[in-house]
Symmetry: C2
Subunit: 349 residues, 2 copies
């Protein structure tokens, strides 16, 4: 199955986990309430439709096969649930970060208003668990182990999000590289790579190798830093594949490794200027301010530094995954797993 | 066990379902990240601590015993999970409604900022499911049935919340009594009374009597209308027991049965004035506007009408519960169940 076909299979599974838009048609409701519930159900499908490559879901499928498990219904269920997690967490993140767009379209709270979007995210969260609970009827699956992994994965993600939001709340940009790496490990690396790899093992009835988790965290951290680096490179195709405006992270005042490095290495005067330029809401940030920030990032080599960190973490993670993959029973699937992870480890510089 | 002792037992179980504030102390994090994670964990405990009487949790316990089940660990687990649901949904509702206070203290988003509070609500949502998943290890409990009931209960609550938010988003107050009752059935009645009663049956391995659900919805609707009526009565003790400022619902522009009746019966000119007075953010509503609204509510008998509807629904629900209770194996517990529900059915007028 090609990457596209697999992504499309996962998308179909996500869709069937949600109420159909016309689900409310036969309910004993007044016409106005029925129309409103139908609109609600259609909003549930919005972000799931926007998610493109299903990297996390595909990692679950490949990891399951690589560990000798079957990719029948249970693995597909977990892959779709992980992408539903991604959907609701992005809706809530977009509200928390005041983001304008998501994958080239207005963020859900810009389309439907913040209160409605928040509630849609909560409903998707519930449908994620309802989908996972179908595993309880699947023979031969340790559903409890999968549910426990989801529970701790989401708790960690929320902790990481709290670290990020605390920096924002305190107006701090001098967060230090160590604190940045802790934040992104909790917020992104677990659910993006480490947990998908672990879930594949659990679905195959295998205790996950601790090395798998360490490697997954390396690759997940690299994945996030690459994302932040690509956002500040003019040679990225910002319109299509990447789907985020050039330097959008600077307009949004986002904490990244690039900013952490800049703040740690810049002169006092320059660091103060960076703080001033990045503070306040997005609407106050002019293109001139962003150009000035890009100049400072260039002068202090912060983009280059972030690229180097991403390259090193990716290379380390990939090397460990390669050694592990050689010991796994599903050789062909291990190859597909590596094929998903290798682009993350492609050198940026 | 007294009501207070039972509420306190449920509270202890909620507390142990959440990470202790000092949970992060032994984690390999920089001091700054550790302090931030500890602060996050302490915020998780805020709303659970504010919830007072644990009506919903106590209904689960009494219903379980009334159906012949045991109130050991599993029933307590479900009661605590239901109160954790109440905690996270209140945090998110307060954000969605722009509420200033919750039980006499500032709402969480006023204390910690909206982004942090939203994320705390998400984390509590996860801990609610993690607590429920402990049932999978409990012998003799149909955990899948309990999880399914929680899933459909929360989905319904989100639909009801969407109906409410849609009225707000459209700036509509002329919502009609039928639409109001549909909204409050989905948003409040299921999780407040109907689901707790059903969960007690499921925990006892008994198929819930459909009459139980109908009665629960009657009582749940009555419960909500009473709450709205009490908010507009000067003789309510607004400082302690009730914990919400007098006429706070009018300041917040909340849709209630009182407003639905007023809009449906007022002259065109008066209805237009009501819409004008209730529209816009809370900060634009003066005490003079609220006094004028109270005058109109008095003139059209809308408070009296809402009281009558609440009284009728409560009487009907309670009568059905009484007949059912007489057939249940746990007589003493059925009596305690009725003792929790009877105050809801006390005549308001």
């Amino acid at each position: 199955m090609t990457d596209e076909a697999l992504a499309s299979t996962i998308r179909d599974r996500m869709r069937t986990a949600l109420p159909a838009t016309a689900h409310a048609a036969d309910r004993a409701l007044t016409a106005a309430s029925r129309a409103s519930v139908e609109r609600f159900h259609s909003l549930l499908h919005d972000y799931p439709r926007r998610i493109g490559k299903m990297v996390r879901g595909r990692l679950v499928i490949h990891s399951t096969q690589a560990h000798g498990g079957s990719t029948d219904e249970p693995a597909l269920t977990v892959a779709a649930a992980l992408e539903l997690f991604q959907a609701w967490v992005l809706i809530h993140d977009d509200i928390e970060d005041g983001s304008e767009t998501r994958r080239g379209s207005p963020a859900l709270h810009r389309l439907a208003g913040m209160p409605v979007a928040l509630n849609v995210g909560d409903a998707l969260h519930v449908y994620m668990w309802r989908l996972l609970h179908e595993l309880l009827d699947a023979p031969g699956v340790d559903a409890k182990a999968v549910l426990d992994e989801f529970g701790s994965m989401i708790s960690r993600t929320a902790e990481g999000q709290h670290l990020d939001l605390s920096f924002v709340h305190e107006g701090r940009f001098d967060i230090g590289e160590d604190a940045y790496l802790e934040m992104v490990t909790l917020k992104t690396a677990h659910y993006t790579v480490a947990s998908p790899l672990k879930l594949g093992a659990l679905l195959s009835g295998v205790e996950p190798d601790p090395a798998l988790v360490g490697a997954g965290i390396d690759l997940g951290v690299a994945f996030q830093i690459r994302d932040d680096v690509l956002n500040l490179r003019r040679d990225t195709d910002h319109s299509s594949e990447y789907g985020k405006e050039f330097a959008g992270d600077l307009y949004e005042g986002k904490r990244t490794l690039i900013i952490a490095h800049l703040m740690a290495t810049a002169s006092k005067a320059d660091a103060d200027e960076v703080t001033r330029l990045l503070s306040g809401p997005r609407s106050q940030r002019s293109p001139t301010a962003v150009t000035r920030l890009l100049d400072l990032i260039e002068r202090y080599g912060s983009l280059r530094h972030a690229q180097n960190v991403a390259d090193a973490r990716a290379a380390s993670g990939l090397e460990r995954i390669r050694s592990l993959a050689a010991t796994l029973p599903g050789r062909a699937a291990a190859g597909r797993l590596l094929a998903v992870l290798e682009p993350v480890a492609q050198r940026l510089s």
